[in-house]
């Protein structure tokens, strides 16, 4: 145990905004919580987007589909011992938009 609640922070719940159904890569990446595991230039739970983009720059077109599939289904083996979580609520079209945005983040 335990769960913790910080009351002052939760007071701010009084301004909850509605969820937006975005269709651009940067917003989708933000709204689908990718930042929980990925940052732009630094390793967090997962590899940084710049590193992913750099590694796959030579095979960008092929990797767009591969990454889109990985966003939805998760998987591991490329960046260490921790598999990526699946994101089953992301559609294939959304996953492709997000994958394209990731591959654009070359340093």
């Amino acid at each position: 145990m335990k769960t913790r609640i910080l009351f002052p922070l939760l007071l701010l719940l009084s301004i909850l905004p509605p969820v937006v159904q975005a269709q651009d890569g940067e917003t989708l990446v933000s709204e689908t919580m990718c930042y929980a595991c990925h940052q732009m230039a630094e390793t967090s739970l997962g590899p940084p987007w710049q590193a992913i983009a750099a590694r796959h720059a030579a095979n960008r077109d092929v990797m767009m589909d591969v990454l889109a599939g990985k966003i939805i289904r998760g998987g591991g083996g490329n960046w260490g011992n921790v598999p990526m979580v699946p994101n089953q609520r992301v559609s294939e079209d959304q996953a492709r938009i997000m994958a394209e945005w990731v591959l654009d983040q070359t340093p």
């Binding site: 145990m1 335990k2 769960t3 913790r4 609640i5 910080l6 009351f7 922070l9 939760l10 007071l11 701010l12 719940l13 009084s14 301004i15 909850l16 905004p17 509605p18 969820v19 159904q21 689908t32 919580m33 930042y35 929980a36 595991c37 739970l45 998760g74 998987g75 591991g76 083996g77 260490g80 011992n81 921790v82 598999p83 990526m84 979580v85 699946p86 994101n87 089953q88 609520r89």
Partner: protein, 602 residues
């Protein structure tokens, strides 16, 4: 011979008959058998009509001893081979379906086969038997199942991804992976509960809200018990007789995304399911006959985030949010609101969780008409006077033996609230430290506190019988506490048939004289009879059926509740639903078609 007038009348009657016949809706019935043709009882048959259907999104019935089932409603749509009608039962798979339909009726035969592997039908709680130790299980439930089922299908899928790594050191790989998942879930939780509080560029404080504090214990437990692909489980039983019969029906009503559904009740004319959407500023109304949605926007210039719902004795709906100072009352027929923004006599705010429920599970005030509330923010109970808004609160005493567990707001959150029949006492539960107590609203003195055996007991929502016996849902330990308010003595603490089922709440049924217990991790509703101390179970037709509080329609006795998976990224249904146990206990029988007056023109 007919004259012209008679002929006209006859033709009109004939045309009306023809049109009525042609447009008549279809009935659905059938039988479920095993491979040898033997009838199977207690099988769920669900007709999933889709979110655009007129009326319920899905309807579920059960087979009797003769294997037969029958849907109670007629359906305007054409039933054919493409119709999504399926059978489901714990430990069975559907082998075949034969559908014979014409315009007015459909007869369906299902063939089912028992299977050893229950992976597709066992609830998440079944997997927690692996923990073994009850106290470790309770701590785990309190940490992780606050917001989502464990192991839900996503969790099981992730276990298979870990296994796919074929790591040279599997234990280390599991620990690293589950550690990442705990951090990931902390992020999601902090995100969910700080909506609107974030400014661009400000990092999420993953230790701030509902964060797993002792993550090392959780990671070790996950690594211990989820050490395979989680694709095989056997031998799970409901642990109590299934009380569903061929007269039992479950109507599911989908709430369009995006939503963050919490409690649901049924009110109004025409009858509407009213569901609280904590992520918006609305109560979602769904006409049970047509399925038509009508949003009731709370008319404030800030979003209150509706959370708990209470039926008023006058048919109104009382709405409380989490953590801000607002109470709202909705007239569901007119759509008119009354709003109170509360400030205590010392100038402070309040964080209302529940208003006081009476034994009929509706709002019960004290004799002066004051409305009492549990204050999750200030660890207090209090009241406000709806005539002038006067508000007072009293901080609950700390139970010495749980002082360490009571240091933070979250671990001593004053949560559920009930009022005695004489309107002189309110009783509260404290989620997180296993404590409850009472408060005399006349003398303004606390009674207790009383300490449950486990600090991880819960307790969450509470309910009170017409004899002032209080029942507490012990979420963490998977039990029901039965406490006699009049003698101040614990009658008994009852284990649920599945102690990992995470009972979210309890509701006293004043006609049936039983307690209904919806579960967050067990995909079932239990019925507990305090006289015989026996349980019955109604399995729910959906996986990840994270159930909330049950309300009981006072006229028909149907159970009203919601599937309310909390974290947005977690799969699982977000619906309001109605269950007719089919026991005929209440004088009127519920039907979506007759539950409402004619739908007025919009």
């Amino acid at each position: 011979m007919f004259n012209k007038k008679q002929l006209g009348k006859t033709l009109a009657v004939f045309l009306l008959y023809t049109l009525t016949t042609l447009s008549s809706a279809a009935t659905i019935d059938g039988i479920v058998v095993d491979q040898n043709g033997n009838p199977l009882r207690n099988i769920q048959v669900t007709y999933d009509r889709g979110s655009d259907a007129r009326g319920a999104t899905a309807v579920t019935v059960f087979t009797g001893t003769d294997g037969r089932f029958s849907f109670p409603d007629d359906y305007p749509e054409r039933i054919n081979d493409a119709s999504d009608i399926s059978s489901r039962a714990l430990g069975y798979i559907q082998l075949d379906r034969v559908l014979d339909a014409d315009r007015r009726s459909a007869s369906v035969t299902f063939v089912m086969q028992p299977v050893t592997n229950q992976v597709d039908t066992a609830p998440a709680s079944a997997w927690l038997r692996r923990i073994g130790d009850h106290s470790r299980q309770a701590a785990f439930i309190m940490n992780c199942i606050d917001c989502h089922q464990v192991p839900a299908s996503e969790v099981r899928h992730y276990a298979s991804l870990i296994d796919d790594l074929h790591a040279s050191n599997p234990l280390q790989a599991r620990q690293q992976s589950w550690d990442s998942i705990v951090k990931y879930m902390n992020f999601l939780s902090a995100w969910e509960f700080s909506r609107g509080a974030r400014e661009e560029g400000v990092e999420i404080d993953t230790d701030a809200v509902y964060a797993v504090e002792n993550s090392e214990d959780v990671v070790n437990l996950l690594s211990d018990i989820f050490d395979d692909r989680l694709d095989h489980i056997a031998g799970y039983e409901w642990g109590a007789p299934i009380i569903a019969t061929p007269d039992t029906t479950i109507w599911d009503y989908e709430v369009p995304e995006p939503n963050a559904i919490r409690e649901a009740v049924m009110l109004g004319d025409p009858a509407m399911l009213l569901a609280a959407d904590v992520a918006a500023n609305r109560i979602v109304g769904i006409d049970v006959r047509t399925g038509r949605q009508r949003n009731f926007e709370v008319p404030t210039d800030y979003t209150i985030g509706p959370h708990s719902l209470h039926r008023g004795p006058d048919g109104s709906l009382w709405v409380t949010p989490l953590f801000n100072n607002t109470v709202a009352q909705l007239n569901p027929d007119s759509g008119e609101w009354d709003i109170w923004e509360l400030t205590t006599s010392t100038g402070g705010g309040v964080g209302i969780h529940d208003l006081s429920f009476g034994f009929e599970h509706e709002l019960l005030t004290d004799e002066n008409g004051n409305i009492w509330f549990s204050d999750i923010g200030n660890r207090a109970v209090g009241y406000f006077d709806p005539t002038d808004g006067k508000t007072e609160i009293w901080n609950t005493p700390v139970a010495e033996s749980r002082a360490a567990d009571s240091a933070l707001y979250g671990t001593a959150a004053v949560y559920g609230l009930v009022m005695t029949k004489d309107q002189k006492e309110v009783w509260y539960s404290q989620l997180g430290n296993g404590v409850f107590g009472g408060f005399n609203v006349e003398t303004k003195e606390f009674i207790g506190p009383f300490v449950l055996p486990s600090a991880n007991a819960g307790p969450r929502r509470i309910t009170i019988s017409d004899d002032d016996v209080m029942f507490l849902a012990l979420y963490g330990t998977g039990q029901i506490a039965e406490f006699d308010i009049r003698t101040r003595e614990m009658i008994a603490i009852h284990d649920l048939p599945d102690t990992a089922s995470a009972p979210y709440s309890v509701t006293w049924d004043p006609v049936r004289k039983v307690v209904w217990v919806p579960t967050a991790n067990g995909d079932v509703i239990y019925r507990f009879d305090p006289e015989t101390r026996e349980y019955g179970v109604i399995p729910m037709p959906r996986e990840q059926a994270f159930l909330r509080m049950i309300d009981i329609d006072p006229t028909t006795g149907v159970l009203v509740s919601s599937y309310a998976n909390i974290v947005e990224n977690v799969n699982g249904p977000r619906m309001a639903f109605i269950v007719d146990p089919g026991d005929g206990a209440y004088p009127e029988k519920f039907s979506p078609a007759s539950a409402s007056a004619p739908v007025p023109a919009q």
